[in-house]
Amino acid sequence: MNETGSRQDPWLPPLDPVTVELDVNDSLVTCTVEPRRTLADALRGAGLTGTRLGCEHGVCGACTVLLDGRPVRACLVLAVQARGSRIRTVEGLSGEREEPTGPGEYEGNGENGEPGGGARLSDVQRAFRDGGALQCGFCTPGFLMLAQGLLADEPDASAERVTDVLSSNICRCTGGVPIVSAVRAVQRARKEAGS
């Protein structure tokens, strides 16, 4: 479609899908996408549907993932832009800072014969669960990734800073205040554990 003339055309043509290799949760994810496909759509197309689309214009934060360790809106990143970056999604969160659950501690949900699906929850996930920081769950993965990024980047963030950063995303069910409390609880627990 363009006439750059060189043998190695630098342009990816608009409607020709190209193969893109992405480093997601320390695994190689290969997807075939047009240049216009967003990272969020590419991840979802690869079966990683925990990254959700709530607005596709970068405000609601449901699609938040970590890109090279920092939270970004996956709806505002093109899949082709993400080549060469480390991507973390909610699917890669379990197992982070997990703690063996003691006998009698609520672990799985037992629903539909899937006792917790075998995954252990990270401290952030557990704090969300125990703090009533989710209801419908649609925004939850985005908030978890936002919180994960903040806690790693700014472990000593002030209460005000935590509120400000967590106000990047929208939770229609709880309003977000219980999420702030959950993240503050993780901060305190990590500090006590000396990690």
Binding site: L12, P35, G58, R70, P71, S167
Partner: protein, 295 residues
Amino acid sequence: MKPPPFAYARAAGVPEALALLRDAGEDAKILAGGQSLVPLMAYRLARPSHLVDIGRITTHRYVRGDGGGLRVGALVRHLELERATGLTGPWQALREAAGRIGHHPVRVRGTCGGSLAHADPSAELPVVAAALDASVTLQSADGTRTVPAADFFLAPFITALEPDEMLVEVAFPAPPPGLRSVFEEFQVHSGDFALASAAVAVALDGDGVATHVRVALGSVGPVPVRAREAEEALTGGRLTERAAAEAARLAASAAGAAAGSSAASGEVPGGGADFRRELVRTLVTRALDRLKEKS
């Protein structure tokens, strides 16, 4: 809300980006952080034929002093400016403004050059550029030119950039002695577009007399507005409460005049012209109060 189709190329360096840009023609766009462009494409309000991705270019990700002045590479992320604790005194407004752009994840990706080149009337960095007499360096395959901020912003979303040019740097000249700057902004809630903003820079001499004053306003006109009458009123006097109040009043009337001169001053919900004028008055008052406090 899927972007329309476009051709895409990733540039490893500025020369390659400029070559790609020239190659792609008039409807090409540079993709840096993508935090403004991609949403516009999602709403199909922008339909670039080609995107030149400069996000991986490492050579223009610097913030460095230059003979008392400051040079900021186009690919510096807002988050990096927000966290640059060395940006105090004359550069304080730059750091404060960067911290008010969008939400945290937007600041992770968004770039300084991208924000300036996008020229949204409610954007923060253009206001700071106006207050600190900055100029931008525009580069094409044919060479570079430097354009003062005042001549760069032409209309909402329109700048002096030619289709084959890239904004590579913003430079802030060496400030007059004692210059300090602050940034104030009003958003209905954090992360929103500003209803009004003000970057104010003042240099005071040993007696507390203002020797140099800049008052620049955002979200009140098609481009950043300098409140020159307010600047003149403050220059040569002390920052008394009375002087600040008068300057704020003059700034508000400058904002009103700017709003009246353009129908396309960036419609933001809940932001009538009267209200914006009031906000300007409040923001300029608050900015001057902060500048006075520290003196």
